[in-house]
């Protein structure tokens, strides 16, 4: 990977730390750049600071040290509402609005942005097709009438709705059974190639990381211990990187091998 110019940097972390009001540090000294069109995987155990890192990007949290820049501007200088509408957000299935139909869930951001009803409708159908949900069957269903995998597809479609250049995904496939997960990961991979968006993807599943990553950032106890391409993780001497690399080859892994 050659030198990237500033204009290609989608997101930058500059010596970023985040501390709770009780003084506990969830993240410290993070320096990281995410380039346009790449998929950066934030990998690590539960509680390592992955989700905190993600929430610093769309200003659900503000850094207590350093600054996070999105498209060259510090997040603290962005209007949070405008920022969040430029950044798609996918969380585990629970993030769908239970009182809205599939179609209405997908259309949330376009509606907030004041699109015309006809345009929203067309876009919604297009996206449902794209994530493999037949609009005629699914558009008017409620989230509770869907399977876990279908809900997650709706979540992805919703994040894509207003065509944001950046999409954040917080363990989007974590709650799915292994087979469905593998299917949806494969589909997501082809989608990713077609769309060319900047993706920041949080997971603790090293297979998922290898399947989808341009680069992987490995976090441990609020610090980044490794940043590089998937191959770098395999070759690293870092004990945490070794632990994750071992999972990848472990034939007893509950995820099994594809």
């Amino acid at each position: 990977m050659g030198m990237k110019t500033d204009s290609q940097k989608s997101i930058e972390f500059r010596s970023v730390g985040f501390r709770l009001s009780n003084g506990r540090a969830l993240l410290s000294g993070l320096d990281l750049e995410v380039y346009q069109g790449e998929t950066l995987i934030l990998l690590g155990r539960s509680g390592c600071g992955k989700t905190t890192t993600l929430k610093l990007i769309n200003r659900l949290l503000d850094p207590t040290e350093g600054e996070v820049r999105v498209e060259g501007t510090a997040t603290t200088r962005w209007d949070p509402i405008r920022l969040r509408r430029r950044v798609g957000y996918v969380i585990q299935e629970i993030g769908l609005f239970p009182h809205l139909t599939v179609e209405e869930n997908v259309g949330v951001v376009p509606r907030l942005e004041g699109w015309e009803a006809e345009k929203i409708r067309a876009r919604t159908r297009e996206l449902l097709d794209m994530v493999g949900l037949e609009p005629g069957r699914f558009a008017t269903r409620y989230p509770r009438e869907l399977s876990g995998g279908q809900r997650q597809r709706v979540g992805v479609a919703r994040a894509l709705a207003a065509d944001p250049p950046i999409i954040l995904l917080d363990e989007p496939f974590g709650a799915l059974d292994p087979i469905t997960r593998r299917e949806i990961q494969q589909e997501f991979r082809s989608l990713q190639k077609r769309l060319g968006k900047t993706l920041v993807f949080v997971t603790h599943d090293v297979r998922e990381a290898f399947l989808l990553a341009s680069r992987i950032a490995l976090l441990k106890d609020g610090k980044m211990v490794l940043l590089g391409q998937p191959a770098d993780l395999l070759n690293s001497g870092d004990p945490e990187a070794k632990a994750f690399a071992d999972c990848l080859h472990d034939p007893d892994s509950p995820e099994g091998s594809a």
Binding site: N58, L60, P80, I81, R82, L83, R84, R85, Y89, I91, Q92, I94, G95, L96, F97, P98, H99, L100, T101, E104, V108, V109, L112, T140, Y142, R158, L168
Partner: protein
């Protein structure tokens, strides 16, 4: 007459009272929603406020309604020249009902919105919803079921509480219940209670159904937002419309005639009203059935222009002066005190004295050969006595009475005056303090013991009128003069019996009586 026959015969009146009741409940619940829902939402934004606000609403619910009315009536609060608080009638009843309905609505709004899954709230924020959008598109729609459950509880409470509004002339089905209690008439009590219970059941079912719809989730945020706005607008519309009907213009020539909440008072109020209408040509607005001291408070507050008061009551209970036994002395005293203190004039006495009647069952009086209270004093130690709240608390009531005759009862029960007659007849108590003019005395074979020590001061019935009213309508003074000495004790007892015993309409009884006295029609 059974309940069904009664409801059929009086269906027009039943319908009107039901409408009044619905109006009280609907308007007060509507206002409570307009206050309670935003307040509940505010509490979710400033949770530190939730304890004091919910605590206040909680306390309001425990205040007895009559006490709340007593507190609200003397208030005089205006907003843009419209009186929004105080006085008797629907206005005060609605304020009280709103206070009662607030707690469940605030509490459910607060818990409903606080209970929305934080992950869903975060998803909304992460998608770039403003606080307002989050509130109207996510939080309110998701908690609507819980909020409506609160409205449902508030509505059912209001249907029940609104029956008490009849005590301050606010109408509703409570009129039948109060009238029934007063006249010892089960049919009448049921005629008020059964429709009110049905109304509560229907409200509960309908709102339960609405609640279920919202809990299982109606589709569409737009739909939900529309529902919220439409219901807010509707509630607002009802409130504006009813404010217009509640606050009529004051230009009309009319006089408000009041009465306390027992039969004799309603008959006397009707006599004043009919005579003022036919002889002075001024429209009379009837504001009858005012409980406790409310008639006096309403008179002083200008809500009522005239009613009939009893001289002894005015002397001791209102002016708080020591009892006197000489009738003309009492009259002279209250007349001058009222003129100086309240700008109210005592006109000519009507001619009868409604004193306390110490009553026992006729069979006991005959068996024990009782004539006077002194005769009965020796049995008191074995007897249970039942007295109204009024008699227990007034200075010329129980305390002095027991002292004057050296009485000590085996048991003393304090209850509503109208219930004491029933309790005596049913052998629940053995001695009560009724009114000497009461029609029920003859009907139930009760015996009045003579006040041989002349303990009770005179209670001459006299119309009292605001001086301001007499200045505005001087003809009323002449009209009231016609009533001087018009009614004897016997006649009063007869009139009471025709209403209480024979269940005749007050209007007809009074019209007949005035005809007989040559006071009907013009001339």
């Amino acid at each position: 007459m059974n309940l069904w026959e009664f409801l059929l015969q009086n269906r027009a009146e039943v319908f009107e009272l039901t409408l009044e009741h619905l109006f009280l409940v609907g308007l007060s619940t509507g206002i409570a929603i307009l206050i309670g829902v935003p307040l509940g939402i505010m509490l979710t934004r400033w949770p530190a406020l939730s304890k004091p606000v919910l605590g206040f609403a909680n306390i309001m619910q425990t205040v007895p309604s009559l006490a709340l009315f007593g507190f609200l009536i003397p208030l005089n609060i205006y907003l843009f020249h419209v009186r929004i608080l105080g006085g008797i009638g629907a206005r005060t009843a609605i304020v009280a009902l709103v206070l009662y309905a607030l707690l469940p609505i605030i509490r459910n709004t607060f818990t409903g919105i606080s209970g929305v899954d934080p992950a869903i709230r975060e998803a909304g924020r992460g998608m770039g919803m403003t606080n307002r959008q989050l509130l109207f598109q996510v939080e309110i729609p998701l908690s609507l079921g819980v909020i409506i459950a609160g409205v449902r509880v508030a509505t059912v409470i209001s249907v029940g509480t609104a029956t008490i509004a009849a005590a301050i002339d606010a109408g509703g089905l409570g009129r039948y219940i109060f009238r029934g209690l007063r006249m010892n008439d089960n049919t009448l009590i049921l005629a008020g209670a059964v429709p009110a219970a049905l109304m509560a059941l229907v409200a509960d079912l309908v709102l339960g159904w609405v609640e279920k719809i919202f809990k299982t989730g109606v589709g569409g945020w737009l739909k939900s937002a529309k529902v919220v706005w439409t219901s807010l607008l509707l509630a607002l519309g009802v409130i504006v419309w009813s404010s217009v009907t509640l606050y009529p213009g004051k230009t009309e020539r009319r006089v408000a005639v009041g009465s306390k909440d027992f039969t004799e008072q309603i008959i006397l109020g009707e006599i004043l009203a009919q005579v003022i209408e036919s002889k002075a040509g001024v429209r009379a607005q009837r504001r009858f059935d005012l409980g406790g001291n409310l008639a006096h408070e309403a008179l002083v507050a200008g809500e009522v222009d005239a009613y009939v008061e009893y001289s002894g009551t005015a002397l001791t209970a209102i002016l708080k002066l020591p009892p006197l036994s000489d009738a003309s002395e009492v009259y002279r005293r209250v007349k001058s005190e009222y003129a100086a203190k309240f700008n109210v004039e005592w006109t000519e006495p009507l001619g009868f004295n409604n004193t306390f009647a110490i009553l026992v069952r006729g069979e006991d009086a005959r068996r024990l050969k009782l004539k006077t209270i002194t005769d009965a004093a020796s049995y008191a130690a074995k007897w249970r006595a039942g007295f109204g709240q009024d008699f227990m608390s007034r200075p010329d009531g129980y305390a002095g009475f027991a002292r004057a005759y050296g009485l000590k009862f085996a048991q003393l029960r304090e209850m509503d005056l109208s219930l004491t007659y029933r309790a005596l007849v049913d052998h629940q108590v053995d001695l009560i303090a009724g009114n000497s003019t009461d029609g029920l005395i003859a009907r139930h074979d009760l015996f009045q013991l003579t006040d041989d020590r002349r303990y009770f001061p005179p209670y001459d019935a006299v119309p009292v009128v605001r001086q301001e009213t007499l200045e505005r309508y001087p003809e009323i003074r002449n009209v009231l003069r016609l009533l001087g000495g018009l009614i004897s004790v016997d006649e009063m007892r007869q009139l009471n019996y025709q209403v209480d015993g024979e269940h005749r309409a007050v209007k007809d009884v009074v019209r007949e009586f005035l005809q007989k006295k040559g006071l009907s029609g013009n001339g």
